[in-house]
Structure formats: C-alpha cells, structure tokens
Symmetry: C2
Subunit: 385 residues, 2 copies
C-alpha cells in the first residue's frame, strides 16, 4: 500500500492495452475527503504535454478530487485532438465520481507523439475500468500501472503524530538530462489548506526531485501532485509535516535514482562550504551533467580533474585552486592539486560519494545523479520515447 | 604542409617520450617575420591550466615570436611547480631563438594532473630538439606532434590575393561537453596589426570553434592562436581576410567534429528564423547537448519529440507549437505536431542534418555536434584525461 495508506484515499490500476506488454497502464487515485485539497508542481519545460496544459489550469483553485494517470503514451505534441482526449478523460472520471471535471488532474507518460483515436479510446476505457476497481488497498496496483521502463514500482510512506503521508513515483530515464518523465502522486490525511499544501510541496520538491534532475531540464510531462483528504482530522505542526514530506520525496527520489536506465553507479554529489545554496546547486549540477565525469565513474576512474574542469564552467563563488575533492572518503584533491593517490579510491560499489569543498561560506546542497554507461546509450538509442 | 604554407614560418614536431607510444609529442612553430604579431583566444573555463595562465599574460602586447606545444600531459592542477615548468619552457625557447620569453606562447594537452619533474625534463628536451629541427616544411610534423586521441592530423590552408592562411588543430574528444582539449595554431603572411589580428580571430572563432563546443563548456587547456608574419608584404582587404579565416577555422572545426571519439554521426543543427543569433545558438546548443537526442541519432531514430523537448528548456523567443523540424530533408514535425512519417528519414549516413525553423525572425546559426555512442562511453571511461 502506498498512496492508499493515508485515510480517505482509494486507488486502482488496470490494463487496457496501452502497453504492448499487456501490463497495467491506467491508474486512478481518488480523494474521499472530507477535504478535497490539492497542489501540484509541473515541468518547467516550455514544450508541455496536453495533460500538463489541462492540469495546470485545473489545479488553480486548489481543489483535486481525483487524478487519472496513464502510461503507454505521453499525449504530447498531439495537437488539439490530444488536448480533447485529456479533457474527455477528466470529464469521464468526473461523471463517474460525481464531481466537477475541473477537479480532476490528468497525467500521461510514454512515447511523445502518441495520442490518436486508439489511444483516446483506451485511456477512456481504462479510466472507467480503474474507477470501477477502486479500493482502499489499490495503491500498489496504481504504482505498477504508471511504470514505463521502470524495473520496479516506487512507493513510500511516513506516519507521524496521527497523520500519514503516502507516495508513489515513476521514472527510470537517466536522470540527466532528465527528459524521461517523472510522475509522482503524494497523499496525506493531515488537515491542510490549499495554500499550505502548495507551500509544503514546493519546499519539499525543491530539495528532492529538483536535486535529482541533474541539469535543470525536465520532460514535457513531469508532474508532482499532493492530495489532501484531511481524514485524520489532525492539523499537523508545519515543521513536522514539512520534514515528513521531504522524507517521502527524498525516499522516492533516491528510488528513481537507483532505477535509472542502464546506470551502474548512484552518485551523490555533496557541495559544502558554498557562498549560497544556489552556488552549491550550480556547482553540483555542473558535475552531474558532465558526460566525461559520468563516463569516468562508469569506468571506476576517480578522475577529479574532470570534477574541477566541470565546476570551472560555473559562475559560483570559489577559487578553483582552493577546492578540495573527496571520492568515496578519499581526498584525491586538496587546494586544486593532487592529494591522495587515485588508486586508494574504490569505485566498485554502486553507491558513489563525491564531496566538493568550496571553502567559501556555510551553504551546502546535495545533487543525485548516475554514471554514463553502455547500457544507457543502448536503452536510449533503442527505445523511442 | 600546414602552418608552414604561409611565408615566414618554420615548424617542427619531435618525439621525446611524453607519449608512452613513442609518437611525436612536442611541436614548435616559429615566426621568422618581418612582423611578430600574435593574437589568441583561451578557454573560458575558470580552472585554467598553467600554460593558459602563462600564455594569457604573454599575449597582452600582441607580440608572438613562437609557440611551443606538447601532448602527453596537460600541466593542469600541477601547482606552482607546473607553472614554473611552463615558464622554463618559454625561457628555453626564447634563449635558443634569441627572443624574449614573454613572446613565447606555450600550450599543453593530455592527462590533467601530469606535470612532475619527468614531464618538465621531457618538455624542455623536446623544446630544444624541435627548435633544432625547425624547417619551412615542418608543418605536418608539428600537426602530428600535437595529437592525443586524434585518429589523424587536422590541417587547412586558404590562399587569396597574394597572402595565405595556414592552420593545424587537435582535439578528438566528444565535442560535448567539450572538455577534450582543443589546440589550434593559425599562421598568415598577410600584413595585420595586433588589433586587427585579434578582431579577426575573435570573429572567426565565434562562428566556428565556438559553435562546435556544444554546451559552452571548454577544457582547462583550450587555446586558438593566430601568428602573423607579414612576409607577403600585402595588406589584405579586411572582409576578404575575415572570410578566409572563417573558412580555415570552419574547415578545421568540421575536421574535429568528424574525428570525435567514438561518434558515428556528425550532426549539423541549423536553427533558422530565430529572433536573434543568440537565440539561434541557444536553441541549437540545447539540442546538441541533449543526451537522449544524441543517443536517438546513434540508434538511427529520428526522434523529433526529443528535439522539441530540448528546445523547450531554453529562454529563446518562439512558440513550441509553431516550430517545424526537418531531419535529413524530411519534415517530421510541423507546427509542433507530427508531419511526415518518421520511417521516411534515412539516418544511416554519417552526415546528419537537423533544421529547426522557429518562425520568429531572420537570424540563424549552425551548431556542430555528434551522437552519443557505445564507443564514446567506452573511450571516455577507459581513458583518463
């Protein structure tokens, strides 16, 4: 159980043939209240898929009754026909649930350009079937139905002081440049206003999912949605709720990282003693998106020169000749020069740690990325998305 | 013959064991005058190698008598010992040539962190040997001595109205993110002032080498140097000289592109009808640095969705739903939606053309890049640089 762990939620996942494999491909999560509060963050990509265009409008009033998600087709660059498909999906769900279409969020993931009549018919049939199958234990089925190239479903739950947060996520593309769609649904039975939900969601995604996306690019379809039922009747302490939401989001983000297509290393890049958090993020991202660095890690080569060359391209405040770099606990570079021999670094474990000490201030940030591997190239050259 | 085609230049390339293969690794190009004018552009990376730190200072007066280049070691992140090595190299060359050390440019390429006593001794010995071997037909030897993972030397020559421009270049890294060092030496016997040389060089590199470097990142050691002997005695028409210099630079840039490590496609991305040249460059680069797009081209997949998703991350002026995309002559996307079937696109040739029509203004730009292949990952994970 995942999104259905918090009280007040039902979910389902069904198979309607959008995926050629016959695996589940349409999920629905419904908020049974008493509240119907919702908040969402969307891709910053200017090329937005039809479901994004719909959902961005629909979320304006902070009311979300249900969310419909499909895999097996992104409904992106499919024109007004595709937008109508999303609209019809919301209307079908609204009609069956007895709510307003404007309170239905819609998400799609899969091949860009897919959104013809066959797609529309299947999505509508799937919406109907999923709503017919709703249950308070349907969270796992829903998590499975949103998978694309994911090797496993991603779910997470945190309970505290009488309220609970649940979540599910999909995404298995190499998380740089991050163009594989990431869909996340978070649910809670805590009592929150729409403004509070929005504020907590933005704060939590900023330090979790946003730190996973290694060059700031996002897919055409990315969406993270928080649904609030208030069924626990408890108003959470803001700090406690914020911390719990960050915990769930970070857990899901690292599950996405560890399932990245073709990756052989999960790389955690920690930038410390930066002048500002923005500087720390910029420096970490410049390393995370550097193909030469990523290929070196794949080759178990602790190539700190590529780290310095990457951070040298940023505008962050630091002296390249004062920087220290540590890899898996070994300080290979001190003050921009060689320190411990690179042979001491063991890069055979999948978990890889890089610590960059800028020696300027007190800010820090952690960026999560993966290595660049043969399998990454293979999966992304052979699979159209 | 290459840099020695224009009158007034001598060059040589020798082997002193910096490369474990025993191939030539130190090159010298000397300007025999009557002029000793020079101009150079350097990496924008803040982490600059010692030869860059030296050469940037030495070029200030616009006088260049000679340039010494070594492969087999980048002399980067090698501290004050490394800087002294560069200084000693310039002094040794100056002494042997009877000029001032401040008029000697020095370039290095190879593994970052290499710059110990053994390296110093070999570079100094190579400088001496190369100066002893100088000849007016030494350009080809010099071009060979600066190669690292290059599969072939890159040279170019243009002659016009009594004067000539010659050039040599090295660089074979995947030209995104561009961290493989690019070294270029251009020579001319035209009569130019230092200010003219600088202006022409900046204008020519801006539309050639800068358009090859697909994400704006540069290596710690990149340098493009123009040496002017004036030996033809002819003052060129500025426009004609500019055009000829652009021709040589573009020729060398496309030679670098076609020798990119492990690439199987040379991709020319033409952005047309942009609001400004900056917009066109930004849009082209966003595609050129998108790993998912690059992997798709490797897989012969005309995935225009990835093109639109990439350009959607830019701030350039355009409507994503008005854009056309053509691949190898087939318009696969019109107004942000599907046009011709992707099956009509033949991506089997190495030369790949992508035309992106933004339909906003009259500006355009061309960006040169490569695909992302298994061999790229292999070469950059197995070879420390």
């Amino acid at each position: 159980m995942t999104v259905t762990v918090p009280a007040g939620f039902e979910a389902a996942g069904v198979a309607v043939g959008l995926k050629s494999t016959g695996k589940p491909d349409v999920a629905v999560v419904v908020n049974r209240g008493p509240l119907a509060v919702g908040a969402a963050v969307f891709t910053s990509n200017r090329a937005k898929a039809n479901p994004i265009l719909w959902s961005q409008q629909a979320i304006q009033d902070g009311v979300v009754e249900a969310i419909v998600l499909n895999s097996g087709g992104a409904n992106c660059f499919t024109g007004s026909f595709g937008f109508l498909t999303t609209h019809l999906t919301a209307e079908r769900a609204a009609e069956l649930l007895g709510v307003s279409a404007g309170d239905i969020q819609v998400c799609s993931t899969g091949l860009i350009g897919t959104g013809d009549q066959v797609f529309r018919d299947k999505v509508l049939a799937g919406t109907e079937a999923a709503i017919g199958a709703l249950s308070t234990s349907g969270g796992d089925d829903a998590a499975r139905a949103i998978m694309t190239t994911d090797s496993r479903p991603k779910t997470s739950t945190v309970t505290a002081d009488g309220w609970t947060i649940g979540g599910m996520a999909k995404g298995a593309g190499m998380l740089a440049p991050g163009l594989a769609t990431m869909l996340v649904v978070l649910t809670t039975d805590a009592v929150l206003t729409a403004a509070e939900a929005d504020e907590h969601l933005r704060a939590a995604t900023r330090v979790s999912f946003d730190r996973l996306d290694s060059d700031g690019c996002m897919s055409t379809n990315d969406q993270v949605t928080l649904m609030v039922s208030g069924a626990s009747g408890i108003v959470p302490a803001p700090d406690a709720f914020r911390a719990a939401l960050i915990e769930v989001c970070t857990d899901l983000a690292t599950q996405l990282q560890s399932d990245a297509e073709g990756a052989s290393h999960d790389i955690t890049i920690e930038v410390i003693h930066a002048a500002s958090e923005d500087d720390a993020v910029e420096v970490g991202r410049s390393v995370a998106r550097n193909n030469l660095f990523k290929a070196a890690i794949f080759g178990n080569d602790p190539n700190w020169g590529r780290v310095l060359a990457a951070i040298g391209t940023t505008d962050a405040e630091f002296d390249p000749y004062a920087v220290d770099v540590e890899m898996n606990g070994v300080r290979v570079c001190s003050d921009g020069g060689p320190d411990q021999p690179r042979e001491l670094v063991d890069l055979s474990p999948r978990a890889t740690s890089v610590v960059i000490d800028l020696k300027v201030g007190d800010a820090s940030a952690t960026i999560y990325t993966n290595d660049l591997t043969h399998d990454y190239v293979h999966e992304n050259s052979a699979y159209s998305s």
